[in-house]
Symmetry: C2
Subunit: 526 residues, 2 copies
C-alpha cells in the first residue's frame, strides 16, 4: 500500500442533518484564556543521549530578555516552561536611530527542542510541511505590538532577527501567550497516588487532554488540529475520569452524526472550519468507534435522549461494517486504506478489524436494549455469537495459540490485543493470550501510544494489573523521563526519532490518543 | 568614507512645534482608491539584452488563472500591466479533498522582472533586505479571502505554492490590488506634444509622481517610503506643473518645520508613522532645500501666510549653513556624510555644496523681501555677493576653466552643475561652462536621475534648450525604452545594474527624484 493510496479520496455525497448540527453548535464551548509567560532564555545543544539528539540548556531568566537588543543575524530561544496552546504576542521596540527600514523576523515554534534546532527546510516527509510552525513577519512601523493571529502549540519559540538596518536594533517586551482550552482544570479531582510515577503520568495525561480540548476534541493542537473519531473515543474516556465535560463529547458525537454520507456512514474525521465538513476518509474501525463512543457516553451520563437521537447513526455503522463480513463470518481483507488500527506498515488489518467489530457489536447489543429495541438487540446478539464462533474457527490457530490475520496468516500484536478487548475467549484464556503475547513478542509490533493504550486496557480487563502498570511505566513513564510535558503522538523507546511521516519534526508532541494513562489509572483504580 | 560613517547617528534634541504639526495634520490628504487587476500571466526569461538580464514574456491572459489549480512546488507570475502601489487581495479555494493541512504561500512583489526572477536570499547589500517585498503566509482555513495588510509597490507578483498536502490543490480568484494615491489625475492638463518621446516622458513622470503621492510626498513607494527634503523639492516642482495639489507641499513643509532640532535645523527626512519623527540624518544641502522649497511654494501659490509662518525656519537653515563657511568664504570640506549631492562615492562635496548655498541664498533674499524684512534681505544679498566673489576667487580655476572642489581640486560634473544653477557666472559664461562640461566630460560623473535633473535644468536656465532635450531623451528616454513604467531611482545607461546599495534588487523603480521631466518639459515649454 503506498502512501498515495492511503490518501486517495473517495467521492461520498454528504447528507447534512441540520438539527444535529444545530445541537452541536449550541453545545460549542467557550474557551478559557490564560496568559502564559516565558520562563527562561535557553540554548539548544546537540546531545546524542537526548531525544532526537538535542538538549535544552537554560542560559538566563526570561526577565533578562527586555534589557537585550538584537541586530541582523541575532536570535534567541524562549522556553515557556511547559506546553502551551495559544496565541503569541509581544512588543517590539527599536534601539538606536528611528527605524529606517522594516524589521524582518522569523519565528519558529517547537513543542520539542528538535523543532527549534533543526531547520524546517530540511523536512522532506510526505505530509505537508505547512504543519511546521513558523512565521516570517515584516514590521513597517515601530514600536509595535505583534499579535500573531494563528494558534500555535509549543513550549519553545525561536526568534531570529533576519533584517533590521545599520541604524537600529530591536528589543522585545511583554512576551506572552494567550493560552486557550475549553477544559476547566477546577473540575478535576486531584489524584494523590502512592506511586509518584503514576501520579506523574496522570498529571501529564490531563495536561495533554486539556491542550487538545478546544471547541472540539482535537487530535493534536499542532497537527492535525482536527476531530478524529479514534482520538475522540479515547479523549472521551479520559474526560469522564477527569474534567467530566460531557457536553463536549456530546457535541462531537452530534457533529459526526450531522454529516454522514449517503449510506449513513460517518467519516473518520471532521473539519470544523469554515463549516462542518466530513473528510473524505472513511475507516472501518473509526466508523465503528462512533458506536463505541456513544456506548461510553451513555454509560458515563445516562443521557437517554442523546442515545435515542444518535442510536440510528450508531446502529448504521454496525450494519455497514457487517456488509464487509464474508460468508465465512470474517471481515474481508483489503489492500486499501480501509482500517487504521495502528501506524504499522506491515500490519495486516483483518484480525484486529474483526476484533473491533466484535468489540463494537457487544456494545451495540447493550445500546439496542437501552433504547428498547429488543428485536434489534437479539439480532445483534445472534450476530455477535455467530461472528465470535467464526473468528475462533477461521482466525484462531490452535497450534500457535494466536489469532492470525490475512492470507499470510500474520500474527501481530494488534490482532491479539483487539481479540482480547473483544473478550471472545474465556477470561483465563484471554489472560494467557496476552501473557503469551508478551512472552513470545511477535515481530509485527505496536507503533503508537494509541495501540499501546489498547494493549494496556486489554491487560486490565484480563486482570493483569501488575503487567499493565509495568507496561504503562515502561512506555509513558519512559516518555516522561525523556522530557514529555504532554504525551507524544509517537513513541518507540527503541527508536525515539520514529515518525510514520518521514521526520520527527512533523510529529505531534501533544496528542489526544496518548492521554489515556489518567483513564487507565483512575478507571481501573491502579 | 565608509557606509557605516554615512549612517552614523547624531544625537539631536527635537523641539516639536505642535501648531505646525497640527496644521500639517489638518492638511493630510485622503487617499484615492482604485481596484487594479492583473492583465497577464507571464514568464520571466534570462535575456542578456534586457535590463538586469531578464525579460518578461506573456503566456496567457490573467483571466485564465481561475481555471488553473496549483499544488506544492507550482508557481505563477502575474503582470498587472503597469506600476501599482497598494494592497493586494485574492480568494484562495481548494481543489480536491477538504484541505487537511494549512496552505503555505510565498508572494514576491517586483517593480521589475529581476525582482521576481532572482531569489531575494542572494541579496547581500548594505541596506536592509527587509525592503525586498515578499511575504510567506499560512492559511489554515479555506476558502479564504487573503487581504495582505502591507502596502506594496509593484507590477509583477510571483505566487509560489510552498506546501499544500497530497489531498488538495488550490486555485486563485478575484485577484486585485487596491491601488492608493493622494494624486487626483483629473487635475492634470493633458500634454499633447509634437514630439512623442517628450509626451511619453511627461506621462511616465506623472505616473511616477502620482505613485509617490501618498499622505506625504514619499521618495519611493517601495523604498524608503519616506519624506525626504531632496525629493520633496523636485516633487513639488513637478506638482506645480501637473496636479497642482499644493496643500500636500504645504503639509510637508509644515512637517519639516514642526520637528527641528535644538539649533532649529530641519532633518533630511521624516518618519510619519507612528508619529512624526525627525530622522537623525542632517545634510547641508537638504536642510537648505527647505528654504528653496518654500521659495518655490510661494512662487507657485503666493500663499503669504504660510510664507510668514515658515520663513523663520527657512532663514534659520541659511544661518546654519553660513556657519559652515570658513574665513575664505567657502563651505568647509568634511570627510563625514555632510552633504548628499549625488550617489557618487568619489565626489568631493565642497564645490557643489557651495553652489547649493549660493542657489539658496539668492532665493532667501527674495523671501526676506516678500515677508518685508528688508534689513535681512540686504544682509543676505551682501552675503550672497561676498560668497559669490569668494567662490570665483577660491574655486574657479581660470586655466582649466572649471570650478574645483576640495584639497585635491577635484573637477566634477556636480560641481559645475551646481555653480551653473547658482548663476554666479555671466549667462554666456554659464552656457560655455556647461557645454565645456559636456565636451570634456570630467571623470567624476553623475550617478542618479536626481543629479541629471539638475544638469538638465542648468542647461535650460543657461539657454541650452536643444542640449537639454537631447540629454533628457538620452537619459529618461533610454529608461523608457528599457521598460520603465515609472522612472527609476538609479539609471546608468552604461551599467544598467548599477546600485549604490549592492544589488539592483533593492533599487527603487518608482522614485520621486526621477519624476522631473514633466516639470522640465512644461515649465520650460520644451
Amino acid at each position: 500500500m503506498t502512501e498515495q493510496a492511503k490518501m486517495q479520496a473517495s467521492t461520498a455525497v454528504i447528507i447534512r442533518n441540520e438539527a444535529f448540527l444545530e445541537e452541536a453548535e449550541r453545545l460549542k464551548p467557550l474557551l478559557n484564556e490564560t496568559i502564559a509567560r516565558p520562563r527562561r532564555l535557553v540554548q539548544i545543544e546537540a546531545d546524542s543521549a537526548a531525544v532526537h539528539g538535542y538538549r535544552c540548556n537554560p542560559v538566563a531568566d526570561a526577565a533578562e530578555l527586555e534589557a537585550r537588543s538584537f541586530g541582523k543575524g541575532d536570535s534567541f530561544i524562549l522556553d515557556f516552561g511547559d506546553h502551551r496552546v495559544g496565541y503569541m504576542s509581544f512588543d517590539v521596540r527599536t534601539v538606536g536611530s528611528p527605524p529606517d527600514a522594516p524589521l524582518k523576523l522569523k519565528l519558529t515554534f517547537g513543542e520539542m527542542p528538535v523543532e527549534v534546532a533543526v531547520p524546517f527546510d530540511t523536512y522532506d516527509g510526505w505530509i505537508s510541511s505547512a504543519w511546521l510552525q513558523e512565521e516570517t513577519i515584516f514590521i513597517d512601523v515601530m514600536p509595535h505590538r505583534v499579535e500573531l493571529p494563528r494558534r500555535y502549540s509549543f513550549r519553545y519559540v525561536k526568534v531570529e532577527i533576519m533584517a533590521t538596518s545599520q541604524k537600529y536594533k530591536v528589543s522585545f517586551h511583554d512576551v506572552g501567550c494567550r493560552a486557550v482550552t475549553s477544559a476547566d482544570s477546577g473540575k478535576v479531582a486531584p489524584l494523590h497516588h502512592a506511586d509518584p510515577v503514576l501520579e506523574q503520568l496522570d498529571r501529564i495525561s490531563i495536561r495533554t487532554l486539556a491542550d487538545c480540548m478546544q471547541d472540539v476534541f482535537e487530535d493534536g493542537p499542532k497537527r492535525d488540529r482536527r476531530l478524529w473519531l479514534g482520538d475522540l473515543r479515547l479523549q472521551a474516556l479520559a474526560n469522564y475520569e477527569t474534567f467530566n465535560q460531557n457536553d463536549l463529547v456530546k457535541r462531537c458525537l452530534y457533529l459526526f452524526a450531522g454529516v454522514p454520507d449517503e449510506q449513513g456512514r460517518v467519516s473518520a474525521n471532521l473539519f470544523i472550519q469554515p463549516s462542518v465538513i466530513a473528510d473524505d476518509t472513511y475507516l472501518f474501525d473509526y466508523s465503528l468507534f462512533f458506536t463505541a463512543s456513544l456506548y461510553d457516553y451513555f454509560a458515563a451520563t445516562n443521557d437517554r435522549q442523546t442515545l435515542r437521537e444518535l442510536w440510528p447513526t450508531a446502529f448504521r455503522q454496525v450494519q455497514l461494517a457487517l456488509e464487509k463480513v464474508d460468508e465465512t463470518g470474517i471481515v474481508r481483507d483489503d489492500e486499501s486504506w480501509w482500517s487504521f488500527i495502528d501506524w504499522q506498515d506491515r500490519l495486516n488489518k483483518q484480525a484486529p478489524s474483526q476484533g473491533v467489530l466484535l468489540y463494537t457489536l457487544k456494545r451495540a447489543v447493550h445500546l439496542a436494549e437501552a433504547v428498547g429495541e429488543e428485536g434489534t438487540a437479539a439480532l445483534l446478539s445472534d450476530k455477535l455469537n455467530e461472528l465470535a464462533a467464526a473468528t475462533m474457527r477461521e482466525l484462531w490457530d490452535p497450534e500457535r495459540r494466536f489469532f492470525v490475520s490475512g492470507s499470510d496468516r500474520q500474527i501481530s500484536w494488534a490482532g491479539q490485543v483487539w481479540m482480547a478487548l473483544a473478550e471472545i475467549l474465556p477470561d483465563a484464556d484471554n489472560r494467557d493470550l496476552l501473557l503469551r503475547l508478551q512472552a513470545e513478542s511477535p515481530e509485527v509490533g505496536m507503533m503508537t501510544p494509541y495501540m499501546m493504550h489498547h494493549f494496556v486496557e486489554a491487560l486490565l480487563i484480563a486482570g493483569c494489573k501488575e503487567e499493565a502498570i509495568a507496561q504503562m511505566k515502561a512506555y509513558w513513564g519512559a516518555m516522561a523521563q525523556d522530557g514529555a510535558d504532554t504525551f507524544w503522538e509517537l513513541y518507540d523507546p527503541n527508536n525515539k526519532s520514529f515518525s510514520p511521516y518521514g521526520s520527527p519534526l512533523i510529529n505531534s508532541y501533544c496528542h489526544a490518543w496518548s492521554c489515556t494513562p489518567t483513564y487507565l489509572i483512575r478507571r481501573y483504580g491502579l
